[in-house]
């Protein structure tokens, strides 16, 4: 095996400065998505141990109650309840949830400002807290329940099993392909040792490879499913075991329904 001469010599190379912001930002955003998927799975193990079915059902009900309520007292009670639930979560989850809730509330205020200028103060004082409560409720559900448990819980709402399977597979492949593209971006970063005048060409190459990879994975998975006897029908197993935490959660939510009815009547 004859080694070329340049390979035995030390490379005398002084790199030129170049901007890698786009690659770095893409890496960071992919890392965030993958970490979010991993964390939602970890959360359920450490969380409140409340059945995902109950969480999905009552979160949906709570959103409906918030939307139809005309009582500011009820909305305030719901916000207090949600914030007390939020306070038992991890610091980074509290920060992220409140950040999103406040940001969207501010955006809602901006949208409602013209109506406030025309004298309709009611909407700004009612809709903004409603938006805040809804976003907080959804984020609490999202952070305290794994995505797979949420899709399984959809069975209660008579969502077809095959749709649940497709959702599960989608989540799985977001993670797998996300991890694959993250490694491709790492590779591009490690091989970008100089001035790359055609960064977007490299990125389109990554996108193309991802497309081919996802097609290959889909074909392989379909073949594997066929080999395991898949004929287009799928039954999702649902097993609900009530724990003490579930019963407390149900009681709290029934109380909230009573509060809603009470303030609706008076």
């Amino acid at each position: 095996m004859n080694m070329p001469e340049w390979l035995s010599k030390k490379e005398n190379y002084i790199p030129q400065a170049d901007k890698d912001t786009f690659i770095n930002k893409s890496i960071m955003s992919l890392l965030n998505i993958l970490s979010r998927i991993r964390n939602t799975n970890a959360c359920t193990a450490e969380g409140f141990h409340i059945s995902a079915v109950l969480k999905v059902a009552f979160t949906f009900l709570l959103i409906v109650l918030i939307s139809v309520s005309r009582s500011s007292e009820f909305i305030i009670i719901v916000i207090v309840y949600l914030i007390s639930v939020l306070s038992s979560m991890k610091a980074y989850q509290i920060i992220k949830t409140l950040k999103v809730s406040f940001l969207i509330s501010v955006f809602t205020i901006i949208l409602l400002l013209p109506s406030a200028f025309l004298g309709n103060y009611y909407s700004i004082f009612m809709i903004t807290p409603k938006v805040f409560a809804t976003i907080t409720a959804v984020n609490i559900l999202s952070y305290s329940t794994s995505w797979n448990s949420i899709t399984n819980a959809l069975k209660v709402f008579f969502v077809p099993d095959i749709f649940i399977l497709v959702l599960d597979i989608t989540i799985k492949y977001i993670f797998l392909l996300g991890d694959f593209s993250l490694n491709m971006l790492y590779s591009l970063k490690l091989r970008s040792v100089g001035r790359n005048t055609s960064k977007y060409m490299s990125l389109s190459g990554i996108a193309g490879t991802m497309f081919i990879k996802s097609r290959e994975m889909a074909e392989e998975m379909y073949s594997a499913m066929e080999c395991r006897g898949f004929t287009g029908e799928y039954r999702a197993a649902r097993k609900i075991l009530f724990s003490l935490a579930d019963i407390i959660y149900i009681i709290i939510n029934i109380l909230l329904i009573f509060v809603f009815c009470y303030f609706s009547v008076i």
Partner: protein, 265 residues
């Protein structure tokens, strides 16, 4: 050349490296061994600056490598030129339209003229015996061809250190043998080699020194590769080998079994 001092690293609370101290000199051929999930790949990522230690120090050529230091693009590019990383999954490393462009990617960025780039690409193609693939699309190649191409596109940048993550995985025995000889020649040419592997049959040929990780993500041994392979108790303790009951010519017996490691009855 590479100094890793008391380095620990965790992925979202899960320990991957625990108080690792290891130093590698220029021209060495070091193998990282250990069971799955013991931290070998994380250490390779750390050496390449993909992840930074939570605690401890990583120095390359006496310069500390930190995220802050790597934000300086000139420093980062020079650092990445000096260390070439061959990923475990070659698919993640190939993103150009054809084999020629893939190998030329690094040299072109290094500001070489097109004639010099062509010479370097041709050298790499003939060195890895893949001249016939020059105009092929990387995603249509076989596993072995992709691995050769991944090595070629890293070699074309002429790095001082070559880091390989499980290079033997998924290769047929003939290509494995070829790769062993190739890595040996590269090491003779002065390249520092850091290889993570499970292949205990070939590890002795591609490394003179082995660093063994245990399941607690710590270094269980850092010694001569031959000596390490003879230390059956230690290999068993870290769960790299197991006791294997089987039958030879009607004679049932057991002995320690090392995956991919040849044995005589």
């Amino acid at each position: 050349m590479i100094e890793i001092i008391n380095v620990s690293y965790a992925y979202e609370g899960r320990t991957a490296l625990s108080d690792i101290t290891v130093s590698i000199s220029r021209g060495e051929a070091v193998a990282l061994m250990g069971p799955n999930g013991s931290g070998k790949s994380t250490l390779l990522k750390l050496i390449n600056g993909i992840v930074s230690p939570d605690s401890g120090t990583y120095k390359f050529d006496k310069e500390e490598i930190t995220q802050k230091r790597l934000r300086n693009t000139k420093f980062s590019k020079l650092f990445h030129q000096k260390i070439g990383f061959v990923f475990q999954n070659s698919d993640t490393q190939l993103f150009c339209a054809n084999v020629y462009d893939e190998i030329a990617f690094g040299p072109r960025q290094m500001g070489m003229g097109e004639r010099e780039v062509e010479a370097r690409v041709n050298d790499c193609l003939s060195l890895l015996n893949i001249e016939s693939l020059k105009d092929r699309q990387p995603y249509h190649l076989s596993g072995g061809e992709k691995r050769k191409l991944a090595i070629a596109c890293v070699l074309s940048m002429n790095p001082d250190v070559l880091v390989l993550d499980e290079p033997m995985n998924g290769l047929d025995p003939r290509t494995q043998r070829w790769l062993v000889e190739f890595l040996t020649e590269l090491n003779k040419a002065g390249k520092t080699l850091i290889t993570s592997t499970h292949n205990l049959e070939l590890v002795q040929e591609i490394s003179s020194r082995a660093v063994l990780f245990d399941e607690d993500h710590k270094i269980a041994a850092d010694t001569n590769t031959k000596k390490l392979l003879e230390n059956i108790d230690l290999l068993k303790k870290v769960n790299l080998i197991d006791e294997y009951y089987h039958r030879h010519e009607g004679n049932e017996h057991s002995h320690y079994h090392i995956h991919n490691y040849g044995h005589k009855p």
